[in-house]
Every structure is written in structure tokens, then in C-alpha cells.
């Protein structure tokens, strides 16, 4: 079998299966754990828990003013590569055609040159994130294998995609196969590490939001 056929065929099917099964497993094993129930009386005038959870999910999209200055670079850089990845994955024409082949779904695309430019920015932003991780003392200390490996499996598809587009170094088919294989690696790894934060972020922000709102005094005093 040609490498490209292998990548497009069995390798991709296998990794998609691991990805879906793994992600569902992680989500359900967490959701089915016993949870502590807060039986303390909420301060009066509370907004419903679900609203509190949703508003914290939104609130944490941007740092509070007090903490903003010192974290601004990381926040902005984080947004750059998150949004960059999203655009490159879902708005590059070849990707849409590929997804269309697999699922039958389709949507509008952005101009190829624009997406290529964004992929370069994303690549640089990922490198900046790595430099930050390796040089900022708190981040360096708390970084684990998972952090570096997650970075690598995110970085490789971007890099190999750019290389394939530019046709550098090898036959296009080989470059494309390597690109697809790097995506396979990413898909397989997602359920095993911190990349699960794409989903977990909603749980943790939500539960903390509800927890904090439970303790907020919204009314003052009289006639309470």
C-alpha cells in the first residue's frame, strides 16, 4: 500500500476511532464520578446555578483588569494560536473538501493565501508558547511530559501542512501522507493528555462559577 493510502485509509480511521472513543470515555468517566453536593444555604437573591456557570465561562474569556497586565502576552498569544488553529483546520479549502469526503458536510472557505498566512502566524505563535514554557520559571517548573508532547503533536500538523503546501523536500504525496499521519498522532493523543481541556474548560469554569455565585451576596441587608 502507498503511504498516502495508508495514511488516508486505515491510519486515519483508527485515529478517529481512538479520538472519539477516548474523548467520550474521558468525559463520561468524569461525569459519572460521585460529586460533592454543596448543602450550605446560598446567599439570598442568587442567580440560578446554570446562569452562574455560563457567565463564568464567558467571564474567563479575558483576564480581570487587576491581573491583565502581567498575563497579557500569554493571553494574546494563546488566542492567536487557538483561533489560528481553528481557522486553518476548518477554513482551508483542501481541509473542507477532505472533511466533505469523510462526512458529506461542507461550508464556505477562506482564500487559500490568507489561510496560509494565518498558518505561518500560528506556527510562530506556537513557537513563542514553547519558548515561554521553557523560559518562564513557574511554567518551566510545572511543565510535564504531557505539556511538551501535547505541544509537539499540535505543532507537527501545522508544520507538515505548511511544508506540504510549499512542496519542500519530497514528493507532494509523501508530504501529504506525513501531514495526515501527524494529524493521526494528534487525534490519538488528545484523549490521553491535557488537550482534553478543549472540553474540560466548560466543566471547571462552570462549576467554579456556580460555586462562587453561591457565595455572592447580591442584596444588601434590609428585609432580607
Amino acid at each position: 500500500m502507498e503511504l498516502l493510502e495508508f495514511a488516508r485509509g486505515p491510519a486515519l480511521m483508527f485515529s478517529i476511532t481512538v479520538f472519539i472513543a477516548g474523548v467520550l470515555f474521558r468525559i463520561f468517566s468524569l461525569l459519572f464520578m460521585w460529586r460533592t453536593k454543596d448543602t450550605s444555604a446560598a446567599h439570598p437573591g442568587q442567580k440560578p446555578e446554570i446562569m452562574a456557570a455560563l457567565s463564568d465561562i464567558l467571564r474567563r474569556m479575558w483576564p480581570l483588569a487587576t491581573y491583565r497586565q502581567r498575563s497579557l502576552f500569554q493571553w494574546i498569544n494563546g488566542y492567536v494560536f487557538h483561533i489560528g488553529l481553528f481557522i486553518v483546520v476548518f477554513f482551508l479549502l483542501p481541509h473542507i473538501l477532505f472533511i466533505n469526503d469523510l462526512t458529506g458536510l461542507s461550508w464556505g472557505h477562506l482564500p487559500n493565501n490568507l489561510v496560509y498566512a494565518i498558518s505561518i502566524v500560528t506556527l510562530i505563535s506556537l513557537i513563542a508558547a514553547l519558548i515561554m514554557r521553557a523560559s518562564n520559571p513557574p511554567q518551566r517548573l510545572i511543565s510535564t511530559f504531557d505539556d511538551y508532547f501535547s505541544w509537539l503533536v499540535t505543532f507537527l500538523p501545522v508544520l507538515s501542512g505548511i511544508v506540504a503546501t510549499m512542496h519542500i523536500g519530497a514528493r507532494y504525496e509523501t508530504l501529504l501522507a506525513l501531514h495526515i499521519l501527524s494529524v493521526c498522532l494528534l487525534l490519538i493523543y488528545i484523549p490521553f493528555g491535557k488537550l482534553m481541556h478543549f472540553f474540560l474548560v466548560f466543566i471547571t469554569r462552570g462549576q467554579t462559577g456556580a460555586h462562587i455565585a453561591h457565595r455572592r451576596r447580591t442584596t444588601v441587608l434590609k428585609g432580607e
Binding site: L30, S40, G78, P137
Partner: protein
Amino acid sequence: MTDQTTARNDAQAAADRFLALNSGNLASYLESCVRCGLCATACHFYEVTGDPKYTPAYKLFPMARAHKKNSWPWRWFGGAKITEAELQEWEELLFDSCTMCGRCTQVCPMGIDIASIVSASRSAFAAAGRGPEDFMQAAENVREKGSPLGMTPSVFDGRVEWLEDDYEVDLPMDKEGSDILLTVSSIEMMKYPKSIIAMARLLNHAGVNWTFSSTGYEATNFGFLAGKPDIAKLALERIVNAAEELGAKTVVIPECGHAYGALRWSGANILGRALPFEVLHITELLSRLKADGKLKFRPIEGSITYHDPCQISRRGGATHLARFLLDDAEDFREMTPTGDENWCCGGGGGVQAMERAADLRHKVFQIKMKQVEDTGAQMMVSSCANCRLTMDGSKDYWKWDRELESLAELLVEYLVDDDGEPVEWDD
């Protein structure tokens, strides 16, 4: 048993406790940290030392490891075991250098509540016999003597009688049918008795039907802070039983932040049933009395600022009440940052009671000194005796010249009667 077996057993005891406490809520936090390190900038211990070991996310490590060891799919790979060396390394990080102030949670893009993990971790470490000796002993004192500072019921009784005589103030004891059971923190009783007098005078003036209890008097809960659930429950039951016997509808926590958190938010959860009374911090009660027109104050003189105790403002939600009580001040100045984002005093979470953490606390207080100096205020008011004790200690250490004052003690000096005439006290 050899030392090695003991060490293994300790590590196992810690691991077992971790698993027993590992709820879906905590596991979600443990799994979601992206190790961005942003929390470091929020933590006063990192701020003043620049030492990366104080990064809040680092404090999640032991529990995260215990969790991983036992959950799929990591289980397949064996996972990492908790070791004696880790217990050794993290003891200082979980006890001496976390005040459970919750500031890191405000910054965390994932919304991880690190303080709740630290609390569970302390419990696991305590099960392994870990924790600063003096602090753990203070918790044991609760069991044996009724209070962390050894204030037994008879000492308490004696002190109340003495205060009653000395200050000529009515301090009702075990008065059945009282609406309110007022508790005290032993820190106040031993070091700041005037704040107890101040509370009593304010309540008496407002015509509140209140009492102390000779059995449920201690507001602080060191069992809770030290990770000893049996002691936490015992301390709680003393208050609950006393309130039920006296028929009190409300239990009031004095100027103490963690005591408020332990009873107000964790009480029902520890007890396993809803509390049979309402819990108010003294600032909540005083605000209510002021709003109802039962307490009136004349303008407070001089320039003042307010230190938000973490457990009352950020984690208690009563941030605006202190401002409401101080709105008569002639010259009130807010610190930067303030309110829910205020810096911790450095002594919360029981850190105040750990002698070996003193140097670290003094360092942390430098943040507060700078904050206050930047406002230019002469006096810093607060409503937590634990903050006050921490700050008083550091103030002496740095020979700092600004005044520290308790909110209740300040207010009682500015109390006026219905005709607007100052109320005089004969001390």
C-alpha cells in the same frame, strides 16, 4: 516497624485519603490544568519570593498524581506512586505557603479552585502524619481543650466574667431563648478582648437579644484547616448543639474569616445536614442593624483604608458590607487592588499558627505595607482577628508606623444615639 515501612505506610495513608476525597469536582480540576503558570502571578508567596515552587498549580501535583494512578487510561501505564520524598517536599507548599485565599482561582483561565485541592491535600498529608507540629497541635487542642489556644470552657467563663467587670458591659451567658448565639475566636479572647467588648456593646445598644454559650463558644475551626475531619466535625457540633439548646435562630461569627468559611459554607457539608440556623459574620449582622436604623454612626475621622479578609470578601461574598459600614468615614481610601481582588495578609488558612512560616509571612506583609502607603491612609481597618494578628506581628517586625484597627472596635467609638449624640463608654 522499620523506618522504611513506616514511610511506605504514610505514603499509602496519604494516597488512600486522596482517593477517598477525590470527587468528580476535584478530579475535574486536577485533569484540566494546562500548566500555563498564570496563577503564579496571583499568589503572594510567589510575588514576594520569586521562587517558582510557590506556583499554585504546583500544589496540585500530589493529588493529581494520586488521581492519575487510579484512573483509566493512565492506570494501564502504572501511573506514578506518591513517595515519602514527595510528602516531604510538598508539606511546606500545602501548609506553610498556602493561605487558601483563592486569589489564584481568579486568574486561572480554566477556573481551577486550587484552594479546594489544597484543603483535600492537607487532609491526605495529615493522614500521613504530616503538617507543621505547632499547627497540628493547635488542632489537637480543639479536641482536648475546646480551642486551639487552649481556651477551655472554664477559662472562657473566667475571661467573660473578667471582661464584664472590667468594662462594665453586659455579656449574657447561656441565655435561653436568645435570638443570636455570638461566638468568639480564641485569638480575640486572648489577644484582642476589646473587639469582643466592641461587638457586645454594639449588639446591646441595638437591642439585640443575644448570648454567649459556655459550650459552643469557639468560632475558629482548626480541624478544618489542618485537614482533620473528626476535629472539624467536633468543633462544629459544639456550636450546633449549643445553638439548638439555646434555641438561637442565628449564629454570629466574630471577626474571623476562616471561622466564617468553615461554618457558613462547609458547616452543612461536614455535618451532613442543613444547619438549623442562619450564619452571619459580624459585618453582616452590623450592616443589617445599620440598615435597619438600629445602629447609627458619626463620621469616622482620619484617613482609613480597609483590608478585605479573603474569606469574607473574595470567598465570602460580603465585600460591599464593610464599605457600607464605613460609608460614614470622612476620608476612606481603597487600596489597589481591593475588594475581591485584594492581596491576602499572608496568615490565612492557619499559616498564622505556624511558627516556621513567620519569615515568609513578614515578606508577604511587604505587599500590604506598600498597598496602604500608596493610599496614603494612616489607618488600616479589617474585620478578621487572624489577619490582624498576622499583620500586627509583621508590623512590629518591620517597625511600620501605620495603625491597624478592628472594624467593630472602630465603629463602637463612633456610635451615636438616636439624637445623634456620641455614645460614651467608661473604660
